[in-house]
């Protein structure tokens, strides 16, 4: 079999739908800007819905043109569904954003957004380092533009430039690492890496391979905003439009951790203790730094950057532990984190009306002005803080269990102690919502799409707080 059959196209359908829709929107924008202005959001949503359906029913391809590059197994499908879900939520948040900022053109935005999402899907489906790299580049290049999408915001100029430069450096690291690995073992195919590494005879080859792994790790660490490669995140999150920040906080982070886990929890599971010890050091730094700096943030996009850094620290614990339970625990945490982050951004969306975004002061008295929204935001923040009885507690518990089992007691202890800090900064926001309403604070305008995201996140978090087992079983089987 050399040519692609209909069956293969069916297997590829989620990716094709995204690319084709993206191109359609671009053409629409080129020929009829008003039409694109009106329909691109709904078109994107529709495409994502179809893609979700397609991804769920897509068969596995066995064509040798595809299998060396893309994975079609159960976990690959879970990744696809996860990323498409992230895409749906981001689209709805974007639509809400454009309702607040009516004059901004939309066609290009959704073209870029779909391209970025396509990149994410490639990361999840990668069976080869090159596809992985391609995925990251597609994601990043679209995001460079999206960060600076609000052309009149001066903050956005800085944000986009910063992201572009650090992203370029990260890409260089990643590519150079891949080259070194290829030099050492002669393959970039992920599933064969472990065997090839253990077959290496000379220590110089091993050193070459490990150097390659180190570069790849650094490249991914940039994307995941792991300390000390995090410096871009606060400024970039701060200067980007709200939905883009949400997409970066969830999508990029998930993408990076999915990449980490396909490489280090699947292909190279426990290939060398050295890597785990190195990651443990980074995890300590990330946990401590992210949590301490988040204590003092007032601008909420910036706040989410730091809280995101601290969550990256928690997500590193299963990577460090590298046990067989690590991957389900990591994915469970990612899903809970994604829901809670999207829920928070959905509630912030109607309050967002200026360049600086939402400040802590804007939330004062929210509970009296809009009790439902405040309840949703409070639940999301408690989930992010890992406070029982929310699913966030169970997600943290699963991660700590994995870390404890692997013997990283110090890491678990530091992780638990930093939850005290995170309890402070999340509850401070909740406290602000519960405080007396100030006179300057305005009524909250309704934004149906954002409200939908908020409600769905709220319902899902409640559901997973009561019935967490099915979600984890999804990642086990």
């Amino acid at each position: 079999m050399s040519a692609l059959s209909l069956h293969d196209l069916h297997a590829l359908s989620p990716y094709l739908i995204l690319v084709l829709t993206a191109l359609c929107i671009l053409l629409l924008e080129a020929f009829s800007s008003p039409l694109a202005h009106r329909f691109s959001a709904s078109l994107t949503f529709l495409a994502l819905a179809i893609a979700l359906y397609a991804a769920y029913f897509a068969p596995a391809s066995e064509n040798r043109l595809l299998t060396p590059w893309l994975r079609f197994d159960a976990l690959g499908r879970v990744f696809n569904l996860l990323f498409l879900g992230i895409g749906v939520f981001s689209t709805l948040l974007s639509a809400a954003f454009f309702q607040r900022f009516k004059k901004v053109s939309r066609g290009e935005y959704f073209f870029l957004f779909l391209s970025a999402l396509f990149g994410l899907l490639l990361i999840g489906a990668a069976a080869d380092f090159l596809i992985l790299f391609l995925g990251f580049e597609t994601l990043s290049i679209s995001l460079y533009v999206l960060c600076g999408y609000m052309k009149k915001w001066t903050m956005s100029h800085e944000s986009a430039m910063k992201y572009f430069f650090t992203g370029a450096i990260a890409a260089a690291f990643l590519l150079y690492g891949i080259a070194l690995i290829y030099g050492a073992v002669g393959t970039t195919h992920l599933p064969s890496l472990n065997g090839a590494y253990h077959a290496l005879a000379t220590s110089s080859d091993q050193a070459l391979f490990l150097a390659g792994i180190a570069f790849v790790t650094i490249g991914l660490a940039f994307k995941a905003a792991i300390v000390p490669f995090h410096a871009w995140a606060p400024d970039v999150y701060d200067g980007s439009p709200n939905p883009v920040t949400a997409f970066m906080a969830v999508g990029t982070k998930t993408g990076a951790f999915v990449a980490f886990s396909t490489i280090f929890l699947e292909s190279l599971l426990q290939f060398d203790r050295f890597w785990n010890e190195g990651m443990a050091v980074l995890a300590y730094l990330t946990l401590l730094y992210g949590n301490f700096v988040a204590l003092r943030q007032r601008q909420l996009r910036r706040f989410f950057a730091y809280s995101g850094i601290s969550h990256a620290g928690f997500l590193m614990i299963p990577l460090v532990a590298s046990t067989s339970d690590a991957l389900p625990a990591l994915l469970f945490y990612v899903v809970v984190y994604a829901l809670a982050t999207f829920g928070s951004f959905a509630i912030l969306a109607p309050l967002d009306h200026r360049e600086e975004g939402v400040l802590l002061e804007d939330l004062r008295g929210l509970f009296q002005r809009a009790p439902l929204q405040a309840t949703i935001l409070a639940l999301c923040l408690l989930t992010l803080g890992g406070i029982p009885p929310t699913a966030g507690f169970l997600a943290k518990f699963a991660i700590f269990k994995v870390g404890f089992e692997a013997g990283y007691y110090g890491l678990v202890t530091v992780g638990l102690l930093t939850t005290v800090l995170s309890a402070y900064y999340y509850l401070r926001i909740v406290g602000a919502m519960l405080s007396a309403s100030t006179e300057t604070s305005k009524q909250v305008p309704p934004l149906p799409t954002a409200a939908f995201v908020g409600l769905v996140s709220f319902g899902a978090i409640l559901l997973f707080s009561w019935f967490p087992a099915p979600l984890l079983a999804l990642f086990l089987g």
Partner: protein, 487 residues
Amino acid sequence: MSLLMGLFSIPFLCSALLCICGGFSRKILKVLAVGCSFLPLLLLAYFHPLWVGSHVEFPWFPSLSIVFDLRVDPLSLLFVYLTALIIPLSLLAVPSADFPMPHFFYALALLLQGLLLGFFTAHDLVIFALFWEAMLIPLFFIISFWGGPQRQSAALKFILYMVAGSALMVAAVLALYFSSAAMSGSGTFNLDELSKGASQTPHAKWIGAIFLLAFAVKTPLFPFHAWLPDAYCQAPLPGTLLLSAILSKAGIYGILRIGMELFPSLLLAWGPLLLGLAIAGVFYGGLAAWKQNDFKRLIAYSSLSHVNFILAGLFVWNQTAHEGAILQALNHSITIAALFLAAGWLEERLGTASMNHIGGLAAYIPQLCWWTLFFVLSSVALPGLNNFVGEFLILFGLFADNPKTTALLGLTVILSVVYMLRWMQKVYFEEPQLQKKIEDMKGKERLLALSLAFLILWVGLYPAPALRYVQPAAQKIQGILKGENPL
């Protein structure tokens, strides 16, 4: 669905119901909420003989081996009754005016009731830890939305103390799990299974200390009480009732359930130190109460003092003292609720809790004065009232072990008389200074006071029924220690 599951779920369902009932008038809401909150008590009383031994068990989160395991034994039952009783009382204490969004308050209090019922019956360590922290959330909301002027900082201080106190609890839970896995092959969070081998766990001292710290902060044992005065005084009146009557008992229950059953030898070894801290706490609370010029703070410190008295009873390894401590835990809840209610009603009438410029109120509000005096006498352990039975048993048990310490602890009973009567004297019995007219007790308040007085007299005059449930609980603890150290 078993009976216990019904008991556990009712408050959650009622809480959800009240959340969506925002449109009704205050009066209807209150009737609805109080009615809902009485449901567990009715259920408990109606099926009274069936409760001990009833249990719910299903694998909740199998891949983490967490089993949703609730079980009622005599000790649990006492605290379950307490929860079912105190929540309606605190809902009745909700002021009828100047209380924004009452339906959310009712929903939170009912949520708290459900979480507490789960906590007091949890038989799986993860479920226990989950409810342990979860119960803070409704209280945090209650303090920071309905509290006094400095409520924000008080609420944050409260919750940070609690979270910091139990931050490492998850690590301790996991350590027990993996040591049970090492011993028996498959890990478990079941408390019965864990109690077999917990003391032999490597680093058992550290694990036990982590748990004890969490319980000590919540109860609070001296010197972990710094959150208490602000939280008690800034919380709204019903919130104060919840904090003082229920939250402190969660810590005591934790010491009984986890400390005594899992780490008996550790508690025995640390007994003298902990006893010393508790007695220091009794004195500290009493002396601090003496110096207060704000009667709410005075009662807050008196609560600290009395709670440490209970802890002193727990830290003597003696069945009589344990019986006294468990009984006193219940008594203290009733008395402190009554005292805070009386103080709250007075504050509502005066607009201030300061004792500086008031006096002789007995002339204006005689009924409130005499009811307060009754509750004060209960608090200072007048024979014939409830606290006398509990404190007497504690002192009696302590005497068998250590007569000198008993003499010291006995002195604090005098101390409590001193500060309590000082309050009564200053506020009610000195020269009348008040110009304006104030209203005496209303019918609703009289009813509340009467029901509390009934409980106080019942335990005080005829403690046998209560002791019938206290005794097996205390005996179980004695049995555990005998199993540990066959001497």
